[in-house]
């Protein structure tokens, strides 16, 4: 069992062109910035929109070939979708929501309700079967939505930002439960997300979609050790530069130069961890080969540190402790000296 998406689809400003395959038992995370076409791609797989050219195959059967003749409407595709906003039917109880798909597949009322109740118990929501969606918390509603999608045993599971509308406090538990249920689902599964943690925890493989094109696919390890675009680097929290290496310096497009250690000459990308970026009030005298003054744009508190977003010709992020922020008086607008050792800049030929 596998899903093959190979199609072109133009919608307003978006020109989606992709070629993706997801195997049974594999979770693919589709990540990318807003407007990159992630959700459109999911809707095409689900049959909520039709493609312009190409084919969509599920287990070898054509679901859409762009001609309209082969188009299989959503209700006949046998898919499960979890939407960003749970989209539970507001006039039905949690149990009837879960039973809805079973009823639509011709299962009797009684049997459907029994199966639905069992799914709700499995989600830890046995006591909430009679509740209407508006009296459920965000995390509970999303669990009901997951049960609703899974209860009718679909052949393909699609999740569209399933954690985005859930409180941060509930997200971790829901993510863990999602991981469990994704693993238990035998067919291909796709999760759309813009959250790196979700992608890394839930997916076996990541496909990065930017501007309607897949710019990088690979296992989570491969992607994080070798990000190919700024978006991917930002996603995993690395600083990212693209340029040309000449005479042991990476020349950026805008003319800025970064001293690096590399045998390679020519096009390259460079990454460095925010922790290896040092900040000084005065021009530093010492080993760092790279040092330049630049304005602080923003301070973003991270888990146990502060990410200092720095502008200028080579914008990057430095990670420092909260104590450093206080003692150095770091604040947006302040001009600061940035220093990076050449050995901390990881260069990869392109």
């Amino acid at each position: 069992m596998s899903l093959h998406l190979r199609f072109n689809l133009n919608r307003g400003p978006l020109q989606l062109k992709l070629d993706l395959a997801v195997n049974a038992g594999e979770t693919l995370a589709l990540v990318g910035p807003n407007g990159s076409g992630k959700t459109t791609c999911l809707h095409a797989a689900a049959g909520l929109i039709s493609i312009d050219h190409g084919t969509i195959l599920l287990n070898g059967a054509v679901l859409d070939d762009g001609t309209g003749n082969a188009f299989v409407p959503a209700e006949q595709r046998d898919i499960g979708i979890v939407f960003q906003e749970h989209r539970l039917f507001p006039h039905m109880s949690a149990q009837d929501n879960v039973a809805f798909g079973l009823r639509a597949h011709g299962i009797g009322r009684k049997a459907a309700r029994l199966t639905a109740a069992a799914w709700l118990s499995r989600m830890g929501l046995g006591d909430f079967a009679a509740e209407k969606p508006h009296s459920l918390s965000g995390g509970q509603a999303q669990r009901v939505a997951l049960a609703r999608a899974l209860a009718k045993a679909p052949r393909l599971l699609l999740l569209d930002e399933p954690l985005a509308a859930v409180d941060a406090s509930a997200r971790q538990d829901l993510r863990r439960d999602l991981a469990t249920h994704l693993r238990a689902f035998a067919g291909p599964r796709i999760i759309v997300t813009h959250d790196a943690v979700d992608a890394f925890v839930l997916a076996d493989r990541i496909a990065v979609l930017e501007g309607g094109r897949i710019v990088q696919t690979g296992t989570t390890e491969a992607i994080s050790s070798n990000p190919r675009t700024r978006y991917v680097a930002d996603l995993i929290g690395l600083n990212f530069f693209r340029g040309v290496v000449r005479d042991s310096a990476l020349e950026l497009k805008n003319g800025a130069r970064l001293i690096v250690v590399s045998q390679h000459q020519g096009n390259a990308v460079a990454t460095m961890h925010p922790r290896s970026v040092a900040l000084f009030h005065e021009q530093p005298i010492g080993s760092p080969r790279n040092a330049w003054p630049a304005p602080i744009e923003a301070l973003e508190p991270a888990l146990d540190s502060v990410r200092v977003r720095i502008g200028g010709q080579a914008p990057l992020v430095a990670e420092v402790t909260a104590a450093t922020v206080a003692s150095m008086g770091l604040r947006p607008g302040l001009t600061i000296w940035v220093a990076i050792k050449a050995t901390e800049v990881h260069v990869r030929p392109e």
């Binding site: 689900a46 049959g47 909520l48 409407p73 959503a74 209700e75 006949q76 595709r77 046998d78 898919i79 499960g80 979708i81 939407f83 906003e85 989209r87 039917f89 507001p90 006039h91 809805f100 798909g101 009823r103 639509a104 597949h105 609703r148 999608a149 009718k152």
Partner: protein, 264 residues
């Protein structure tokens, strides 16, 4: 937010508000106070009144039935998108709300009377001519009441988030199940409002009915017609019948109170 207004303005506003309220409250109060309460039971149990009440209920419920049967598909079609054709159809369907009822009655007679094409065909099929029949009271009432149903339901359908229908489709629900299990339950408030408004308008229908269906006791004389006739010969009875009609209208507004009053 409360704004400070000069006291003279406040007095003027209060005065005009009181006049406005009185303009609407006094007529209702007049009916209630002048109603022949002691004779009411006796009046209402007379055969002509019972007949008129029965005809009114037949024409009003018949109008609601027609509105749901024909108006629901029409509202579904109107709500699907915007186009010149849909705009024109909406104007035609809405027209009875603003059309003088006497004009509506004459138009109905011209379109569905014996000498018209449709009317002649109707007579051939059903063996009786539509005008001046009980069926004509239903048609007149539906013509006047259905626009309220169509407008209300179309507004409800347009406000319905189509993403719920996507979710239903993804769960395997075809068009019929989506309509029956998702769309209709989710627009239930609009359906209720539309049905009640249609019913109330049909119940009060007078002029178009008289033009198209006539004023025949026992077959087309509905309560409003009986009321107008009684005004000539037995004003007390007319007041009693008016009390019934007013009570029914008030009951409709009471049921709809949540749709009208802005929620806090």
């Amino acid at each position: 937010m409360k704004r400070r207004s000069s006291s003279s303005l406040r007095v003027l506003v209060a005065l005009l508000t009181a006049i406005a309220v009185a303009l609407f409250a006094l007529p209702i109060l007049a009916i209630v106070t002048s109603a022949p309460w002691s004779r009411l039971i006796e009046q209402l149990s007379s055969v002509p009144v019972q007949q008129a009440l029965g005809l009114s209920l037949i024409s009003s419920f018949g109008a609601v039935l027609l509105a749901v049967l024909l108006g629901l598909p029409l509202a579904l079609w109107l709500s699907q998108s915007t186009s010149l054709l849909r705009t024109i159809v909406r104007i035609i369907v809405t027209l009875p709300i603003v059309l003088p009822p006497v004009t509506a009655g004459i138009a109905l007679l011209l379109a569905y009377g014996r000498s018209s094409l449709v009317g002649a065909q109707f007579e051939r099929w059903f063996g009786f001519s539509l005008p001046f029949s009980t069926a004509a009271t239903v048609v007149a009432a539906a013509y006047m009441g259905m626009p309220f149903f169509v407008l209300s339901v179309e507004a409800g359908l347009r406000a319905l988030d189509p993403r719920y229908l996507d979710a239903a489709a993804s769960l395997g629900a075809g068009p019929w199940r989506r309509l029956w299990s998702v769309t209709l339950p989710m627009i239930q408030p609009s359906l209720r409002t539309g049905i009640l408004l249609c019913f109330a308008r049909a119940l009060g229908e007078y002029c178009a009915t008289q033009m198209f269906a006539g004023n025949l006791p026992g077959s087309t004389r509905t309560l409003p017609l009986a009321c107008a006739v009684a005004m000539e010969v037995d004003p007390e009875l007319a007041i009693g019948l008016s009390l019934i009609l007013a009570s029914l209208s008030i009951a409709v507004l009471f049921v709809l109170r949540h749709s009208w009053t802005p929620r806090r």
